[in-house]
């Protein structure tokens, strides 16, 4: 079912249309968020909050952008807000941030990657929030720069610079950690 048909059904019956949207996009949005925050529990919270926001504002969606871009924007903003809050909270915590990240990845029961994959995820977690978002969207989801630009509301030039910096930091981190 394409997005136009989905939105038409939503206009006819809000609950039915919204359920179709959740069926179609929740998995993509889940993985989009999960790659940025890693933990399943946190991803679940962010995804549910994002979907609630979608429900609240779907009636105002005018179709000026793609539905999936709009959904990605909501999920990304929700994730960035969450990450910023978490960063502020960790700023006041006494524990070492790098160590907390390592422990979070190591203790995640839903992570089944190899040692090198674990190191990569830890390196990604150490990136500033926006760079992390750019890197995951470009590297893992292979979104085009203009799509990321629409989602984050940033220029393509700035995104390329962000990706380059993120890339270099991860490369350096991996070289140092092994």
């Amino acid at each position: 079912m394409d997005d136009k048909e989905l939105l038409k059904l939503y206009k006819e019956n809000n609950h039915y249309g919204f359920n179709l949207l959740v069926d179609k996009y929740s998995e993509r949005l889940y993985w989009h968020i999960r790659r940025m925050v890693l933990s399943h529990e946190e991803t679940n919270d962010i995804l549910q909050n994002s979907l609630i926001k979608v429900w609240k504002s779907l009636s105002k969606f005018r179709g000026e952008s793609n539905l999936y871009t709009w959904l990605y924007r909501i999920a990304t903003n929700e994730t960035l807000t969450f990450l910023n809050k978490k960063k502020r909270a960790s700023f006041f915590s006494l524990s070492d941030n790098s160590r907390a990240i390592e422990e979070a990845v190591a203790s995640d029961p839903y992570f089944e990657g190899s040692e090198i994959e674990r190191r990569l995820r830890e390196a990604i977690l150490k990136l500033p929030e926006r760079q992390r978002a750019v890197f995951t969207m470009r590297y893992f989801e292979e979104l085009k720069y203009n799509e990321i630009s629409e989602i984050l509301g940033t220029t393509v030039g700035s995104l390329k610079a962000s990706y380059h910096h993120a890339f270099k930091k991860i490369e350096q981190e991996l070289k140092e950690s092994i």
């Binding site: 959740v22 993985w31 549910q48 609630i52 992570f111 089944e112």
Partner: protein, 152 residues
């Protein structure tokens, strides 16, 4: 071999870096829709207005009680104060009226006006009788005013 593994430019599909190392609890997406629906229902039930409403009701009640109390105290207070003031300074009010009456009647111009205009009789008109003058004064001036007027 190690060098090749950490060349991030070559971290494509073949490196396995892009493969998903995460798992999710069984049946997670089956229950997600229901969880979201429950949260939406809960949020709609306990929206901001629903949270504010009882607090607003409480504030309104206190405000109403305060207002009624204030009005009641104002009415009773002013009544008591008014009675006290009347009894204590009734003469003060009377003297104020007297001052005003005096200002009106004892003003030279007023007396002149009364002498010359109001009570003057033009030719052809019949002069008012004494009874008519007394009746006019009784109708138009009170006793207090009259007692304060000194005719020269």
């Amino acid at each position: 071999m190690m060098e090749k593994r950490f060349e991030i430019n070559k971290m494509g599909e073949e490196s396995g870096f892009r493969k998903n190392p995460f798992t999710i609890p069984d049946g997670y997406f089956d229950t997600l829709k229901e969880s979201v629906a429950n949260k939406i229902a809960y949020k709609e039930r306990f929206s901001l207005w629903e949270i504010i409403k009882p607090q607003l009701a409480l504030i309104s009640t206190f405000a109403a009680i305060f207002l009624f109390g204030y009005i009641a105290i104002s009415i009773v207070g002013s009544k008591m104060w008014g009675e006290r003031r009347d009894s204590e300074s009734g003469t003060q009010l009377l003297s104020q009226e007297l001052i005003e009456a005096r200002e009106f009647f004892l003003e030279p111009r007023t007396i002149d006006f009364l002498n010359e205009e109001q009570f003057s009789v033009s030719e052809g008109e019949q002069a008012p009788t004494l009874e008519e003058l007394i009746a006019y004064v009784e109708d138009n001036f009170d006793l207090v005013t009259l007692s304060s007027v000194e005719f020269k």
